[in-house]
């Protein structure tokens, strides 16, 4: 699919960020799949996770179950949207850590500009897992009247200290890399080691004890150099491979900014649980995975609880899987069935003509 770009918030009409800072211009990279109907009532916004991009829908032309799918890369990212690796028009150099602190709210606000630009008044649905799920929750709170349905998957209303701690170790690994140079590395070697270690930690949290045991066991690699701290075990080789590969496609500063945005996210923000979704008319489907210990089902159940307290029309399904947090990217068949059927009923209820699976 072709990636498109939308640039907005040119001075003096910059985006006002949650931090109060004014920021612009902002470019968002996005892709679309399927066909927008004449009433523009079948648009579905897909929100990607930490390391995703505008291609995160993972769909190929013709795959889109129903509707017109829009997948946008987030502000702060490094896949074509404005982020710390973008050129600061004021200096002609990459922003680095002069890039403003961004929040999940800012990501969603930027997406709302894109939706306006595309001429969509009301989205059929917003859907996303992990950090994408946080954006879904933010949409439910920030723009409740612009969505007909919401599907937050394997996510939480706020990070626990344990979740923040994992992110912080990742950030420290990047910042401890001598190549990081306080974020000013765009004309020199990148902090590859630091970013790779951050990603390795991430991958540990995405898998489960069971899925690791099944995938690697204690198998030893054939090409090892024993007792020299090489990657003896397959799991070590896998993590190193994942880490090194990540460096090729992701910017270390983006990793810092986006993980901070995730850690800052707190949908409750002093509100009582029952007030968060008050008045929300959208239909909600909350999905969690039994073996996910990074975003355990109890965090999804909190979302469900908030829906119940607010009288929101909601469903909750806890999918059986041994894949851990990765399940939201791997248990495609079950998820697709649930999401497809759910979207179809929402679409049919709204009298859309394209409710065909």
């Amino acid at each position: 699919m072709e990636t498109r770009f939308y640039t907005f918030a040119y001075p003096p009409e910059e985006l006002t960020l949650d931090s109060g800072e004014k920021f612009g211009p902002v470019t968002l990279a996005y892709e679309t799949y399927g066909t927008l109907n004449a009433e523009k009532s079948n648009a579905i916004l897909v929100l990607h996770a930490l390391s995703g991009d505008a291609h995160a829908a993972g769909l190929h032309e013709g795959d889109a179950p129903i509707g017109w799918w829009i997948c946008s890369n987030v502000i702060g990212g490094c896949k074509g949207s404005t982020g710390p690796s973008s050129i600061n028009p004021k200096t002609g150099k990459p922003y680095g850590i002069d890039f403003p602190i961004i929040t999940i709210g800012d990501m969603v606000n930027a997406q709302r500009h894109l939706i306006d630009h595309l001429g969509i008044d009301k989205l059929l649905a917003v859907i996303g897992g992990s950090m994408g799920g946080m954006q879904v929750l933010q949409w439910m709170v920030s723009y409740p009247n612009r969505i007909q349905a919401a599907i937050p998957i394997a996510t939480t209303m706020k990070h626990t200290p344990q979740q923040i701690a994992f992110n912080e170790v990742g950030r420290q690994a990047i910042m401890a890399d001598p190549n990081w140079r306080k974020g000013n590395y765009y004309s020199s070697a990148v902090p590859a080691k630091g970013l790779a270690v951050a990603r390795m930690i991430g991958h540990i949290t995405y898998m489960s004890d069971t899925s690791m045991a099944e995938k690697f066991g204690r198998r030893i690699r054939a090409d090892r150099d024993p007792f020299k701290f090489s990657a003896d075990f397959e799991v070590e080789g896998y993590l190193r491979y994942r880490g090194d590969n990540f460096v090729k496609r992701f910017d270390a500063n983006s990793y810092l900014y986006i993980t901070k945005a995730i850690d800052y996210f707190n949908l409750l923000n002093g509100h009582r649980l029952g007030e968060v979704f008050k008045g929300l008319k959208a239909k909600v489907l909350v999905l969690a995975f039994k073996s996910d210990w990074l975003y355990p089902p109890y965090q999804s159940q909190e979302i469900v609880k908030a829906c119940k307290l607010a009288g929101v029309d909601a469903s909750y399904c806890e999918i059986t899987s041994t894949y851990g947090h990765d399940a939201f990217l791997l248990e495609i068949e079950q998820e697709t069935q649930l999401v497809k059927h759910f979207l179809k009923t929402v679409s049919d209820k709204n009298g859309n003509g394209d409710g065909q699976a």
Binding site: S315, C317, L338, H341
Partner: protein
């Protein structure tokens, strides 16, 4: 339970329910009853069930369902937040029926309970003459694979309601998909009660 058997109890339960009411079905299974109530009575329906298969089935039909254990209670719902709470064929399967029914009565303005009558005549015969735990159309399981955790009769339930100050507003009894009017504790396979507190 086969579809025909469902019919009579569904239509009688449906008669108890006002048009446009809000209904919470605890242990909603595949959502048959809720689907019927939506089309027949335009109710605002919410189901709760624990089984993966049931949840998938319900979502496919557009029903709003939560995959939860009703034994954990309904603490997120405030008092009388549903017009009706239904416990059809689930009451005898929960771990804490007393607690679950108390929660149902708290959350629902009215509660509908349906359960197999353990002292149905065929069951009594099997116990008395064959000396075995009964296996009947309404109690189709062997002792080693039954989901039923509590065995009670229509009479047990009536006594229980009295003890707990639960008002029985209406009741009906069925056997072989027909209404039973005579000696239900002996001749009914299944008992249904409309309760309030």
């Amino acid at each position: 339970m086969n579809q025909v058997a469902n019919k009579i109890e569904y239509s009688i339960i449906s008669d108890w329910i006002d048009k446009g009411a809000s209904v919470l079905d605890l242990g909603c299974g595949d959502g048959e009853l809720l689907t019927l109530l939506i089309s027949g009575k335009q109710v605002r329906a919410q189901g709760i069930d624990l089984s993966d298969q049931s949840i998938h089935h319900c979502i496919a039909q557009g029903l709003s369902v939560f995959q939860e254990d009703i034994d954990a209670g309904l603490s997120e719902y405030s008092g009388k937040s549903f017009d009706y709470v239904i416990l059809n064929q689930t009451f005898q399967q929960v771990k804490k029926p007393d607690f679950v029914l108390r929660e149902a009565l708290r959350v629902g303005k009215k509660t509908i309970v349906g359960f197999p009558n353990f002292l149905y005549i065929t069951a009594r015969f099997q116990m008395f003459f064959i000396g075995k735990v009964p296996v009947t159309p309404s109690l189709p399981y062997e002792w080693y694979d039954t989901p039923n955790l509590h065995f009670l009769s229509v009479a047990d339930f009536t006594v229980y309601c009295k003890k707990r100050n639960i008002r029985i507003e209406s009741s009906f009894f069925t056997a072989k998909n027909k209404k039973v009017k005579f000696l239900p504790n002996l001749f009914a396979e299944t008992g249904f009660f409309l309760l309030s507190k």
